[in-house]
């Protein structure tokens, strides 16, 4: 992960909660290539509305990635639904970054009602603080839920909660879904949970 040397800009302003080294690594390669116009217009609308609260991760064909801090993710998602006509979340993935001490939660948002967006997936990424000794639900690994904006995230967020220990504040039903009720180990998709024998 840390073979690239783009980490210094993230350290330069620690008060902003979006320091992923990933977009910084991608930006220089992408700029000489002409960005797809329609996708660019989507990311421009979000940047125009939120300014430097958001960061454009990448603009590729049919895919736009927006990185946002955890304190702004709720209002950005609300704008994505009301202002940009996206209507459902296809997938919520957690990605563990122990070297950044953060857990990233990635929402893949699509639209059924707006036919111009049928091909598009908007990738909304935010990051939660990571605990070395997690007590899921009772530590600082927290994010605001998007369930009141996109009803479809309900089970997806429950899955991220049990697999990564990210507690979604305001979620009506923060219970385990797939794991057994007596699971008493680390959340299993964190990188420090090792498979035996590997």
């Amino acid at each position: 992960m840390s073979t690239e040397t783009e980490i210094p800009p993230a350290d330069a302003k620690p008060e902003v909660a979006t320091p992923p080294p990933k977009p910084a690594a991608k930006k220089p390669e992408e700029t000489p290539v002409e960005l797809p116009a329609f996708e660019k217009s989507i990311s421009d609308k979000i940047v125009e509305k939120f300014g430097d609260k958001v960061e454009v991760g990448f603009v590729k064909e049919d895919r736009v990635r927006i990185n946002v801090g955890r304190e702004n993710v709720h209002e950005v998602a609300e704008f994505i639904r009301d202002g940009l006509n996206y209507d459902h979340v296809e997938s919520v993935s957690g990605v563990d970054y122990p070297q950044d001490n953060e857990i990233e939660v990635v929402y893949h948002i699509g639209s059924y009602t707006d036919s111009s967006l049928a091909r598009q997936i908007l990738v909304l990424a935010t990051r939660a603080q990571r605990e070395t000794n997690p007590i899921p639900g009772n530590d600082a690994t927290r994010l605001p839920t998007l369930r009141d904006i996109f009803y479809s995230v309900e089970f997806h967020e429950r899955e991220v909660f049990e697999m990564f220990g990210v507690f979604f504040e305001g979620h009506p039903d923060n219970r385990r879904l797939l794991l057994p009720e007596d699971w008493a180990d680390l959340p299993p998709l964190r990188k420090d949970f090792a498979i035996k024998g590997r």
Binding site: V95, Y151, L179
Partner: protein, 378 residues
């Protein structure tokens, strides 16, 4: 009256009349999952699906294996639909590793994917028949499915779990004379499934049991983020083979089937219509496919991603849109693989559909969601 909840249950005892009932995980009407229902007499007042009995940690395993050795285990979630469940992973790996796919391989993939869709739907239909006590509808699809399984065996060497798609194309070229055999069998298959109308889909008993049960409105189908046959049975015309064509679907003439009722009957009829559409697609693909040429781009040993990158690819599987999110960190293994599976996405509709329904209608509503427990659990 105090009532202590077993761990993991959200349902509350509210009334002496209400009884809590566990359906599954050993019940033939639930598959490998438990549906906790609360009933008042014969009516369901609340429902809490409890999946996870076949969770095998596919996503975790994928972080320990390289891009090629991930192939056999990532198709395990749906062994009947193994080409489609692997498809988005292979498309994503090709983009991450920068591999071009030969034209002939793309057609072979489309044929394999459509054959697999039919094999999956036939299995699903057989179970739907037996759920409703219709033994003929169990025997017929289970038997006719063999035709296509034989075709897949000819093509890939395995009856299920083919592991046929690899980054860069498909594992092997088609056997000699495959096109003729495939065309003949697909034509017969299409004729055969049309006969299901008389025995099943026009059967007044089926219609009485599924019409107007578990009605999912168009707004709710969109709000819940459902996909595939569930979504199209509620009047939303969304099929990734048309909306976001992958491989050679943009060169083929693909139609989708949409119904507006949103009830269990519509949800059970759409997959059947999909199979006929699959037959059309297979015939077109056989005709347009280049008659010779490579089917696989040679890979370097242990291919690596190009550094920090992520990709989200999706395909239309037998159950709906199936997405795969791969994060690469430039190593030979993917950093994270996430499967966004249609069964898991459709599951959220179940508690809402069962509320107010009769308990006897539970199997027909549940299985009409085109739900595959193993896929939802991964």
């Amino acid at each position: 009256m105090t009532f202590t909840l077993p761990p993991g249950l959200a349902l509350q005892k509210v009334d002496e009349r209400i009884m809590t009932l566990n359906v599954g995980p050993q019940h033939p009407g639930s598959g490998h999952m438990r549906i906790i229902v609360q009933i008042d007499g014969d009516y369901i007042v609340a429902c809490d699906p409890d999946p996870g009995y076949v969770h095998r940690g596919e996503e975790k395993m994928a972080e320990y294996r390289n891009y090629i050795t991930n192939i056999p285990h990532l198709e395990r979630p749906v062994i009947h639909d193994s080409c489609n469940v692997l498809y988005p992973y292979v498309l994503g790996a090709e983009e991450l590793l920068g591999i071009e796919v030969p034209e002939r391989a793309k057609y072979v993939r489309v044929i394999a994917s459509e054959l697999n869709r039919c094999i999956y739907i036939m299995y699903w239909l057989a179970i739907y028949g037996i759920f409703l006590g219709h033994s003929t509808m169990f025997m017929w699809p289970a038997g006719d499915r063999e035709l296509l399984i034989d075709l897949m065996e000819k093509m890939t060497g395995a009856r299920v779990t083919h592991a046929h798609f690899v980054p860069g194309g498909v594992r092997n070229d088609l056997p000699p004379n495959f096109e003729d055999v495939c065309l003949r069998q697909v034509n017969y298959f299409e004729k055969r499934i049309k006969e299901y109308a008389a025995v099943f889909y026009d059967n007044p008993i089926l219609i009485a049991r599924t019409r107007d049960t578990g009605v999912l409105s168009r707004q709710d189908a969109i709000r819940y983020g459902t996909t595939g046959s569930v979504l199209r049975a509620s009047g939303v015309d969304y099929d990734l083979r048309i909306k976001e064509p992958y491989d050679v679907y943009d060169e083929l003439d693909v139609h989708t089937n949409v119904m507006n009722e949103g009830d269990s009957y519509a949800r059970s009829r759409i997959p059947w219509l999909d199979m006929m559409e699959s037959c059309n697609i297979i015939r077109q693909a056989l005709q347009k496919m280049p008659k010779s040429g490579s089917v696989r781009t040679k890979l370097k040993p242990n291919p690596k991603g190009k550094g920090l990158d992520s990709v989200y690819k999706r395909v239309e599987s037998g159950r709906g849109s199936l997405g795969c999110y791969i994060v690469s960190d430039g190593k030979t293994e993917p950093y994270r693989v996430k499967l966004s599976v249609p069964s898991f996405r459709n599951l959220i509709a179940l508690p809402n559909l069962l509320k107010g329904e009769k308990l006897g209608n539970m199997p027909s509503v549940y299985w009409s969601l085109n739900y595959w427990p193993v896929e939802a659990d991964r």
